[in-house]
């Protein structure tokens, strides 16, 4: 079972890791899940979380008067707060439960996803943060339209944004529904409906401000929870990492091999496909890039990315203890296995079982509630991003050419929030019995193959033209979808063929260079009038992206004097 199950988990972890939100009931998400008994502590803590976050939304609604407030919290979030919110996006239930499950099954190999999730952040700070922040107002699409044909480039990137958001939401909703069945014993449809209603209550009124504060609260709770578990695991082994690892090596069926690479992945290309998808996927996720606009200035944007790295780094270091702690304490413990010898609830439940083993039902209730809360927070952020793609990028910038009726734009943003919430519920119910592992794979791959290449080239290559960007984006989109379809996730697991036509689950290692190459080739051969304009626009974009902040500060100083 292990290999097949591990692959299913990998796909789920990939998305949740980044979306930040997620984990999944270890490979059991496409079928029936085993419903657990209701944990009253979990219910109480979760209800407290809901009440607190609804109060936050009420407070935020009083401060959300314009569309800017709705999309970017009026740019008034501090660097540290935004860093915690970004970290909240990453330190998801997926990261927590998914990576713990992976380490439980495959030992060291499970940590590849953790590194991929973190490594995107330094690159974000070095290459993108300042330039994106200085050029855009609400979404990363604003940045592209500074030098390229605003209508055409917006339409293409709105498409990629919506593909990413919708796929993400399907994966989140199906995963969340199954998870809540596992943790709280609620029926699937009720769980999915409850999530959607709560998210709509948060976002429709409180917009990005509410989404940000909900992420912050969740991040603090999750860090506290993981720290407590790691502390108690270490305490069990008298604070000796050596004893912990020695016991893990003794208990795992593969012995000491669990501490070294090679249990899940046999070849470096397989590892590279995951690493490329995770790192470059992070750099193109629209809801992550949008967070750069929620802070008042560049200084705070850089600070927020740095704080996010610190929180995320700490979280993944703690997960080493949690993962190997689960190996050491759960293998061979009959309490957590069913009659057939399978871990109850699947491998993604190992962190919950570990929590029970070391902290009893109170700590389990706390962690279960935090896991549910984490999904709410991620769905909230995705909903704002999807709504902004329609109300800001399509209505305000394309249809109204940057001069929208502000009241109507805000109204539309709220209507789109409700629409996306309803779509998420419908798709969540529609896909509940499907193998959606491939849907979980797609957002990261599409993000790495479409959004990142054109964003990078538009910021760093003077030769990029609108035609080149559009062709590059479409090649990236189509090639990533086709390769995922002919890859193991769909070709074998869904369509039932014996062997995949393409051997890897995460094709970004191939589709990202293909998108870059297409954009380069079509830009180089573009002799249109628009192409000349696009190339000429680069110089002013360069100065604006690097010096806008200083010009603003200088003019403010001059005004004061």
């Amino acid at each position: 079972m292990t290999l097949r199950r591990a692959y299913q988990i990998l796909a789920w972890v990939a998305i949740w890791l980044h979306s930040p939100a997620t984990f999944a009931a270890a490979g059991d998400l496409s079928g029936e899940v085993q419903r657990q008994g209701v944990n009253p502590v979990a219910i109480v803590i979760f209800l407290l979380f809901v009440v607190a976050t609804l109060l936050v939304s009420y407070w935020a609604s009083k401060r959300t008067a314009s569309s800017q407030d709705f999309y970017t919290a009026g740019g008034q979030i501090t660097g540290a707060q935004n860093g915690a919110a970004i970290a909240g996006d990453y330190m998801s239930a997926a990261s927590f439960l998914g990576i713990s499950g992976l380490v439980f099954l495959g030992g060291f190999d499970g940590l590849v996803f953790a590194l991929g999730a973190l490594a995107g952040w330094p690159i974000m700070v070095f290459l993108l943060a300042k330039r994106v922040r200085n050029l855009g107002t609400c979404t990363f699409i604003d940045v592209l339209s500074v030098r390229l044909d605003r209508n055409r480039i917006r339409l293409v990137t709105i498409l990629s944004t919506l593909v990413i958001v919708i796929l993400y939401l399907i994966a989140q909703m199906v995963g969340a529904g199954k998870l809540i069945q596992l943790l709280f014993g609620l029926p699937y449809e009720v769980a999915v409906g409850a999530i959607s209603i709560l998210v709509l209550a948060y976002i429709t009124f409180g917009g990005m401000l509410a989404a940000t504060w909900i992420q912050i609260i969740k991040a603090v709770l999750l860090i506290a929870g993981v720290s407590i578990i790691a502390f108690m695991v270490l305490k069990t082994f008298e604070f000796s990492l050596e004893d912990l690892l020695a016991t893990a090596a003794e208990k795992h069926p593969k012995g000491a091999a669990v501490l070294a690479p090679g249990l899940l992945f046999k070849e470096p290309i397989q590892v590279l496909t995951i690493m490329v998808s995770m790192l470059f996927g992070t750099l193109g996720l629209p809801h992550i890039l949008m967070r750069l606009f929620t802070v008042p200035n560049m200084h705070e944007a850089k600070k927020s990315a740095f704080y996010a790295s610190v929180f995320i780094g700490y979280f993944y270091l703690a997960l080493i203890i949690v993962g190997f702690g689960a190996v050491a304490l759960l293998y061979g413990n009959p309490t957590y296995y069913d009659a057939a010898g399978q871990l109850i609830g699947g491998s993604n439940m190992v962190a919950i079982h570990l929590t029970t083993a070391i902290g009893g039902s109170v700590l389990t209730g706390f962690i279960s509630a935090v896991s549910f809360a984490t999904i709410l927070a991620v769905v909230a952020g995705l909903t704002v991003t999807g709504a902004a793609a329609i109300s800001h990028d399509l209505y305000a910038e394309v249809l109204r050419q940057g001069k929208p009726n502000p009241r109507r734009e805000l109204q539309l943003a709220r209507i789109m929030t409700v629409a996306i919430g309803v779509i998420a519920v419908l798709l969540g119910i529609l896909f509940q019995n499907e193998n959606v592992a491939f849907i979980a794979t797609m957002p990261m791959v599409v993000s790495a193959s479409v959004n990142f290449p054109i964003l990078f080239l538009s910021l760093f290559w003077a030769g990029l033209t609108t035609k080149g960007a559009i062709v590059g984006a479409l090649v990236g989109l189509l090639s990533s979808i086709i390769l995922i379809i002919v890859g193991p996730q769909v070709w074998v697991s869904v369509l039932g063929f014996d062997k995949a036509l393409f051997p890897y689950d995460y094709p970004a290692l191939f589709t990202l260079p293909l998108a870059l190459l297409s954009a380069w080739a079509f830009s180089k051969t573009d002799r249109s009038e628009r192409a000349t304009q696009d190339r000429n626009n680069y110089h002013s974009l360069l100065l604006q992206s690097e010096l806008a902040e200083q010009s603003q500060e200088a003019s403010m100083a001059a005004t004061k004097s």
């Binding site: 490594a119 700070v125 290459l127 501490l259 590279l272 850089k302 270091l317 100065l543 200083q550």
Partner: protein, 82 residues
């Protein structure tokens, strides 16, 4: 413009260092990485595990260094600007 060019070089240098460190992690799955997979001394801690932890710490330190440098350069540039 010189200032902007210097900043771009700096951006690419830091990115190159980070990407090199990041993708070198895949060496763990190659023949070359067999030494990394070995335990350190008598302990159960493997070289691979040490590299994983070191990379996380290094990434954070690189970011800190980059931000400090960038802030200092921006301040100097603003002070010297006419």
């Amino acid at each position: 413009m010189q200032f902007v060019k210097r900043k771009i070089k700096q951006r690419f240098l830091f990115s190159l260092i980070s990407l090199t460190l990041y993708f070198s992690f895949a060496l763990n799955w190659t023949e070359f990485g067999s030494a990394l997979r070995a335990r350190i001394g008598e302990s159960h801690i493997t070289g691979s595990l040490v590299i994983f932890i070191s990379l996380i710490v290094l990434f954070i330190l690189l970011e800190l260094l980059f931000i400090r440098l960038a802030n200092k350069q921006d301040a100097d540039h603003q002070r010297l600007a006419p």
